[in-house]
């Protein structure tokens, strides 16, 4: 711990955002540890993956034995449920005794919580392990929304494709090759239906690749006011989808519900490619018996749409100190390394390579493409719904 704290003092001066950084001193952190003793931290997280749940059970045991903090995972089917609950608490003016101490969020949910003042902080720079985080990763923006120290990075997501090398040994490297493949093998290519997260991400990746003004995507768009501009930028995407859907799975009359279903359909030999946000998903799925040994993840030549997923503390959390201790532990090299192990979860680490026990991540991340402004996602989802949703 002392080594880490020393590192923190050095690093806290170079925090990634313009807030007045609160100097994390050893004394302050000791106080937090003291306060956290005996607290129970209710951690609201998506509970759809047994691997993740198992990993959190391990984290909970460790936290209990090291810091006397009880971490309880509250499994939710969709984190929007938690956003809803916090909103209800805000509406009723319940500013302490909150039911959530820690949430796992990113993107839309973060933006919504931030703008409704549902988050506690900034707190990130007060964590000793913040110093170990790789600042070259976009850890201070969440889908172009500045995090302002209200959430701590936990892991990296990259939009990659999975194929079975036995069935498809030369997978498409870009969108035009993908279309040719779909024409050659009708009914075996698809993507999840937007507004599902992976489906919308597929649209964004396609738009970045196909539009002739990719630089415009970094700034906001108001599709209702700037109709002409929106159509002009996105028309190559719709032209592309118009060609893809007739040769897609079920002639584009149906789409998979999400990433897990594409993996399942890939295994069932209905699709040639699955889509996922976890670059290690293929290995994890093989470990789990969900995919054949010959499955493999890869990214298009353009790179992989990348984002970070985060941990945050609600403004009315009961166990704020306990939540900070939990986050700090989840950012420790040991916990991050274990998280990156494909036999356990396979979620890439957000720490600097030199901070990790092995001195490396264990695998290379794909070339990252940054996310467009969130307004594009909403505009794309609405336009997709208008054109193909019914």
């Amino acid at each position: 711990m002392t080594l880490l704290t020393a590192l923190t003092i050095a690093a806290s001066a170079s925090t990634a955002y313009a807030e007045a950084p609160s100097m994390a001193t050893e004394q302050d952190w000791q106080q937090v540890l003291q306060q956290a003793k005996g607290e129970t931290v209710y951690f609201n997280a998506w509970g759809g993956s047994q691997e993740i749940n198992e990993y959190l059970r391990w984290a909970s045991r460790e936290l209990q034995s090291r810091y006397n903090v009880t971490l309880k995972q509250v499994k939710v089917a969709d984190i929007a449920e938690t956003t809803q609950r916090l909103l209800a608490e805000k509406t009723a003016g319940k500013n302490n005794d909150g039911s959530v101490d820690l949430v796992w969020i990113n993107g839309e949910n973060f933006r919504s919580m931030k703008h409704s003042n549902l988050l506690y902080g900034p707190f990130v720079s007060s964590l000793p392990n913040w110093a170990l985080v790789d600042k070259r990763l976009p850890v201070d923006v969440d889908f172009t929304e500045p995090t302002e120290g209200l959430e701590a990075p936990w892991g990296v997501g990259q939009l990659v494709y999975i194929h079975d090398t036995k069935q498809l040994n030369n997978p498409p490297k870009n969108f035009s090759e993908l279309l040719s493949l779909a024409k050659a093998y009708p009914g075996q290519i698809s993507y999840p239906q937007p507004p599902e997260f992976h489906g919308s991400s597929f649209l964004k990746a396609a738009l970045i690749a196909l539009t002739n003004q990719p630089e415009r995507l970094a700034t906001a768009i108001d599709a209702t006011q700037q109709t002409e501009l929106f159509q002009q930028i996105t028309s190559p995407l719709w032209a592309y989808l118009d060609q893809l859907h007739p040769v897609a799975w079920k002639q584009g009359k149906q789409f998979p519900s999400g990433s897990p279903q594409t993996i399942q359909l890939l295994d069932d030999r209905q699709l040639l490619m699955a889509i996922t946000f976890n670059p290690n998903a293929a290995n994890a799925a093989i470990e789990n018996g969900k995919l054949p040994e010959t499955a493999q993840a890869y990214a298009f030549d353009q790179g992989a749409l990348s984002n970070i997923h985060f941990l945050a503390i609600p403004w009315n959390a009961t166990a704020k100190a306990g939540a900070k201790v939990a986050i700090n532990f989840l950012l420790s090299p040991e916990a991050q390394m274990r998280k990156a192990d494909t036999r356990i979860w396979g979620d890439p680490s957000v720490l600097k390579e030199e901070a990790l026990p092995a001195g490396e991540r264990g695998f290379a991340l794909f070339k990252p493409i940054s996310e467009p402004h969130p307004s594009w996602q909403i505009a794309l989802e609405q336009e997709w719904q208008k054109r193909y949703g019914h």
Binding site: S49, Q84, T91, N95, N109, S257, K386
Partner: protein, 570 residues
């Protein structure tokens, strides 16, 4: 005492609908009051933009049509199937067997049934594996899951709802004195099918009104089943609203609330239409009932087959999936087995089962006492809570009602999660119990009770020794229904319990969101297991309790459900 119960029922089960409804009405008109001086995203000017957003949603009209089609068709199929099953098997040797066979179907929660249905009928489901095994290719063949017209959803709902209607009919038929109707109608030359159609149906249908409305409302507002096997482009209206409610962008809340309100109105219009249809067929066009005997045949001996065959296929498939480590399409059987998934879940299973049971027992017990209180109050004072009010929790999407309730509970300081969850279960169990007991209570011959009183029994003695004994079979079945309704509650448990009250169902839904077929199968089995035990016990108890009344006259029931008429002594 009765007064106290009646008031408590109003207090616990009806008054909360006010904040609940406020929770949709206010946001529907774009008004979200927020305590404290928080800067909130401009939701304070009352306007109709929410409704405008609903109507301008591309595909909303198709979505509504799909909802109406699947909801109404499935309910009518279920009603017809119920009638055929009853007329073919009631009071025959086969009846016991039918009852026994229906219990697994009844007990199977909707989600578990939908998962199993998908395992069978999805494009990579077991049936397609069989077809592939026979050497046909099924690539891009049509399937019954997520088909654009919702046919699979309609069939699944119809099959799932039929046993419920059959069960509800049992207590109704027990009160109808079928034997005497048979005797007199046969004397007039009617054959069995004729008697059922012209004599029993007109008496059975009005008494089945409420259960049928519940099925109809459920079919229109069902979310979980439609999510698993319903159409997706567009989805049914209720799923669409559910997706809207799950939008993290709060400025879109008015759209979701307005949608929920539209769905409520849609459901009420449908119920009114159903009532009108019943009046047309039974009261207005009565010719067919009195046109005399015609020898006819009704199908029915095989009507129950889909209800038995499908669960019989689903259960083994669920069990196989729960042990499958690798099971690739188009293999008929898993290639590698593993008990890993069971072992991972076992440690938490005891706690989950215990929580589920405690909640179910407490909420059902309280709801049962309240229901009996309300029904007794109606019998004595001819005043009752209008059923449409009671039915609200069954009819509107739970999510919309719960948002308001959730806000209300937050006004009370402290953390009483168990209390809130228990109460919300009572709120949703109560209408089902009321529904299950309304018919039997109406059909009870009040003179039996009066005789008991005239022989010197007190109110309580007469009630306990005569009325309760006669109604015992219905009470057992109502209890089983109450327990299973409580066991399948996901949203109330999750929202009011802040996720801290975990039950088999909350765990099942959370894990099912990862779409791992093995895990879904395990929870499908577990979710069905407890209700199955309850239903088997209840049916057994129901068949071995109660006394068949020897009276040969029947009180006519008024068709007006708001006022229960005085007994007629003709």
């Amino acid at each position: 005492m009765i007064h106290v119960l009646f008031l408590s029922a109003i207090l616990l089960c009806i008054l909360p609908l006010l904040p609940g409804m406020a929770g949709i009405l206010l946001p529907a008109f774009s008004w979200l009051p927020v305590a404290g001086a928080n800067q909130f995203i401009g939701l304070d000017a009352v306007n109709l933009s929410g409704f405008h957003q609903v109507l301008s949603w591309p595909g909303v009209s198709q979505s509504i049509q799909l909802s109406l089609f699947t909801g109404i068709t499935s309910s009518l199929i279920a009603l017809a199937l119920t009638f055929f099953i009853l007329q073919a098997n009631w009071h025959k040797q086969s009846w016991q067997r039918i009852e026994r066979m229906l219990s697994p179907m009844l007990a199977m929660p909707h989600v578990a049934f939908a998962i199993g249905f998908a395992f069978l009928f999805s494009p990579t489901g077991w049936i397609y594996r069989v077809i592939e095994g026979l050497g046909f290719t099924t690539h891009n063949a049509p399937s019954l899951t997520q088909d654009p017209y919702g046919i699979g959803l309609t069939l699944a709902l119809a099959i799932k709802e039929t046993p419920f209607l059959v069960l509800m009919s049992v207590s109704v038929l027990k009160q109808l004195n079928i034997d005497r109707l048979y005797a007199s109608a046969s004397g007039l030359g009617y054959n069995r099918a004729d008697i059922w159609l012209k004599v029993i149906l007109p008496q059975w249908l009005p008494k089945m009104r409420l259960p049928f409305y519940a099925v109809l409302a459920f079919g229109l507002s069902v979310v979980d089943v439609a999510l698993i096997i319903g159409p997706t482009r567009p989805p049914t209206f209720s799923v669409l609203i559910w997706q809207w409610f799950n939008e993290p962008d709060l400025s879109l809340l008015p759209r979701a609330a307005a949608g929920a309100l539209c769905l409520l109105i849609l459901a009420l219009i449908t119920l009114a239409t159903a009532r009108f249809g019943e009046w047309l067929v039974l009261q207005y066009w009565r010719r067919w009932q009195i046109s005399g005997a015609k020898v006819r045949q009704l199908i029915g001996n095989t009507g129950y087959l889909p209800l038995v065959i499908i669960p019989l296929c689903i259960i083994p498939i669920l069990i196989m999936w729960s042990f499958a480590q690798r099971w690739r399409f188009p293999d008929m059987l898993p290639s590698r087995l593993s008990d890993r998934f069971w072992l991972q879940e076992l440690p938490t299973l005891w706690e989950l089962s215990f929580n589920s049971l405690v909640l179910a027992v407490i909420s059902t017990a309280i709801a049962l006492i309240l229901t009996i209180g309300c029904l007794e109050y109606r019998d004595r004072h001819q005043r009752s809570i209008p059923f449409w009010l009671i039915a609200i929790p069954m009819v509107i999407p739970q999510l919309s009602l719960l948002f308001g309730l959730q806000v209300t509970t937050h006004f009370i300081p402290g953390q009483h999660y168990w209390l809130w969850v228990c109460w919300s279960h009572i709120l949703f169990v109560f209408p089902y119990l009321y529904l299950a007991l309304d018919g039997p209570w109406r059909s009870f011959d009040v003179r039996l009770y009066q005789s008991a009183r005239s022989l010197g029994c007190t109110h309580w003695q007469a009630w306990w020794k005569v009325k309760r004994v006669l109604l015992q079979p219905s009470l057992w079945i109502a209890v089983a229904i109450g327990l299973s309704v409580s066991l399948t509650q996901y949203l109330p448990t999750q929202m009011l319990g802040a996720g801290r009250v975990t039950t088999i169902t909350t765990e099942a839904v959370a894990l099912a969101s990862g779409q791992d077929r093995r895990v879904s199968a395990i929870y499908g089995i577990l979710q069905g297991l407890l209700p199955f035990i309850f239903f088997s016990l209840a049916l057994f108890a129901s068949n071995h309790s109660g006394v068949r009344p020897q009276s040969n006259t029947k009180r006519s029931t008024s068709t007006d459900e708001f006022i229960c008429g005085k007994p007629n002594y003709k």
